[in-house]
């Protein structure tokens, strides 16, 4: 069963028990919960499109491990074309859902862990790589969703894991048994966690030689004993409980972030992919972050396409579409959005082979991509809000529009172009609100800022990866401070 249907995916989610809390209460049937369901739909779309001949070329790939046709979200990139197709797939998914579709974090994690385990084994004579290959075959053959689990609670930001007053601030090994490890800690912000089948845990940051207990990488199923989940709130989330759907903005899809507590969770040895190799913590963190910084050059662009479309539509509905500054603002939005895409494609085209054989993005360009992502979606959102006018934040609720007494008056004074139904304006304004300050802004804006690392994390990488001395030498050659090595005629 290399490719699952959306129905089979929903069945997987329903046929397990997890300990999930929201608004202080335990949630039993989360798949049908109105706040959670849109996020489930986003992931289900990754299954749907893979089965559609119209999209299968970018949604599927051939596994290098099994030779089977698999969902690209479970693929190990085999060349730069694969890296490029990954970005295109993410743009497509962003366009189809207008939300975070959650499945990329796992793909980015296992591409990073695959190459890192290979290099750990080469250096330390360990057996992690083969274990990881077996895990990945299981993921591919069963078309599973994997959560890429890195960010710890992290306590005091000025202290390293071993210096924290509470050692659980970073997930760590609390016991080594004959049959495996026991771990404790908490990973925050976990995208798509309870919509996943498996969790792939990685260390959060570079570690010192005496921080071996924190240098741990492993996989457990989402319903493993000891796992506790607390659902993250999003702006305007309770609008999904109001009945009706206009005020939701995006009526089908959404994202999901979950606080994920590992309360003494057992991990059998065959699922342990790093245990104490602190010298490889930087490698796995940088590779995961690099892949995820590339990802944003696809997913945020696809969501950006929907916001540009919403801005264009609302300008049309309100009769402002012909104004030259509106046209120019739409051009500017496209320019910014396509620049992000250009970065996503560039870091993929400049990818390279790892020792394990899968392909890694160009780290410098991936960091440039993400640095732009920390800014441009905010500017695109600002322009969309400019074009939309203020009504998307002051407009009465759907219930007022439908009220038999005041509804006709609300509609009368909400009318713009008489040939455009008022409901069009209402719905489009709510979509702009959803994307720029409602629940989708979690993914489109704040995640653009902090996801895959806050802006400063990229600037540190850029500093490391750019050879400034070389550039200085180029300038000195030109102005005669040093002899130009190539002028010899």
């Amino acid at each position: 069963m290399a490719l699952k249907t959306p129905q089979q995916y929903l069945h997987d989610l329903r046929s397990r028990n997890i300990e999930l809390y929201m608004f202080g209460e335990k949630v039993e049937n989360y798949v049908d919960h109105p706040i959670i369901r849109p996020s489930v739909n986003s992931v289900a779309m990754t299954y749907k499109l893979a089965l559609d001949p119209e999209y299968e070329d970018i949604m599927t790939a051939t596994s290098n491990l099994t030779g089977q046709k698999i969902n690209r979200f479970t693929h190990l990139h085999q060349n730069t074309e694969d890296l490029i197709k990954k970005v295109k797939m993410q743009r497509l998914m962003g366009q189809k859902t207008g939300a975070c579709f959650q499945r990329c974090v796992g793909m980015d994690a296992f591409n990073a862990v695959y190459s890192t385990t290979y290099e750990i084994d080469q250096a330390h004579g360990t057996q992690y790589y083969q274990r990881f290959v077996e895990f990945l075959k299981y993921v591919q053959e069963n078309d599973l969703v994997v959560d890429g689990c890195m960010t710890d609670a992290r306590g005091d930001r000025g202290k390293s894991p071993a210096q924290q007053p509470d050692p659980d601030a970073y997930l760590h090994v609390v016991e080594r048994r004959e049959d495996g490890l026991v771990v404790r800690g908490c990973k925050l912000h976990q995208t798509g966690m309870i919509n996943s089948h498996e969790i792939l845990v990685m260390p959060n940051n570079s570690l010192k030689a005496d921080e071996k207990d924190w240098a741990v990488c492993f996989a457990v199923p989402v319903d493993a004993p000891g796992m506790i989940y607390v659902y993250g709130r999003q702006a305007s989330d309770t609008r999904k409980l109001e009945g009706g759907n206009v005020d939701m903005g995006n009526i089908h899809f959404g994202g999901q972030e979950v606080m994920t507590i590992f309360n003494n969770v057992f991990v059998p040895w065959e699922r342990v992919f790093m245990d104490g190799e602190t010298d490889f913590s930087t490698m796995v963190v940088e590779r995961f972050a690099g892949y995820h910084r590339q990802s944003y050059g696809g997913c945020k662009v696809g969501v950006g396409d929907t916001l540009i479309g919403a801005a264009k539509a609302i300008a049309d509905y309100q009769g402002a579409a012909q104004a030259s500054h509106i046209k120019d603002k739409l051009v500017e939005m496209c320019h910014l959005n396509e620049t992000l895409y250009g970065c996503g494609i560039a870091c993929s085209a400049e990818g390279r082979k790892t020792a394990a054989g899968n392909y890694l993005i160009d780290q410098l360009l991936a960091n440039i991509c993400k640095q732009n992502v920390t800014r441009y979606p905010y500017e695109i959102a600002r322009l969309a809000q400019d074009i939309a006018g203020g009504y998307f934040v002051t407009m009465p609720s759907e219930k007022d529009f439908n009220n038999p007494d005041i509804g006709p008056l609300v509609k009368k004074y909400s009318t713009t172009r008489t040939d455009v139904p008022v409901e069009y304006r209402q719905r489009m304004a709510r979509l702009v609100e959803n994307l720029t300050q409602g629940s989708a802004a979690v993914g489109y804006l704040t995640e653009s800022m902090h996801g895959a690392g806050s802006p400063q994390a990229q600037r540190i990488m850029i500093t490391r990866l750019v050879d400034l001395e070389h550039r200085k030498e180029l300038a000195e050659n030109l102005c005669g401070i040093s002899r130009h090595p190539d002028i010899d005629w």
Partner: protein
């Protein structure tokens, strides 16, 4: 040993390619009889200035029995300490080389039978 050296285009190097190659050649000359060639090489040394190492491998592969690739601080895809770069490249070249190739009866393999192997199996110390 017949060594073929191929540089990338050098648009954005993070290492000084020429300096590294000079060091490698110098060190190899002290350890083996070295001949620099343009074809039918024992070892092809690919010198990329950055990890992308954009040399067209399909063009280079038929020119040598084995390849050793350098891409910035990566030697055969593994990151190494920059101070030891030339030393590690020399080790990789020597590990990839089979002295049997120098016997008078050793034939240059048919081009289509050339190994696709990219570099030696030897272990590289990580940075």
């Amino acid at each position: 040993m017949r060594l073929y050296i191929k540089y990338c285009g050098g648009c954005n190097p993070v290492i000084n390619r020429k300096k590294i190659v000079d060091e490698v050649v110098h060190k190899l000359q002290r350890r083996t009889a070295l001949e620099l060639v343009g074809d039918r090489a024992d070892i092809g040394l690919i010198v990329g200035g950055c990890p992308v190492c954009c040399v067209n491998m399909d063009e280079v592969r038929p020119l040598a029995r084995r390849l050793v690739t350098v891409g910035g601080e990566l030697v055969n895809f593994v990151k190494v300490p920059i101070a030891q770069l030339s030393e590690i490249i020399v080790e990789q070249i020597l590990n990839s080389f089979d002295p049997q190739w120098e016997l008078p009866e050793a034939d240059w393999p048919e081009r289509e039978n050339l190994p696709q192997a990219l570099g030696a199996e030897g272990k590289i110390k990580h940075n």
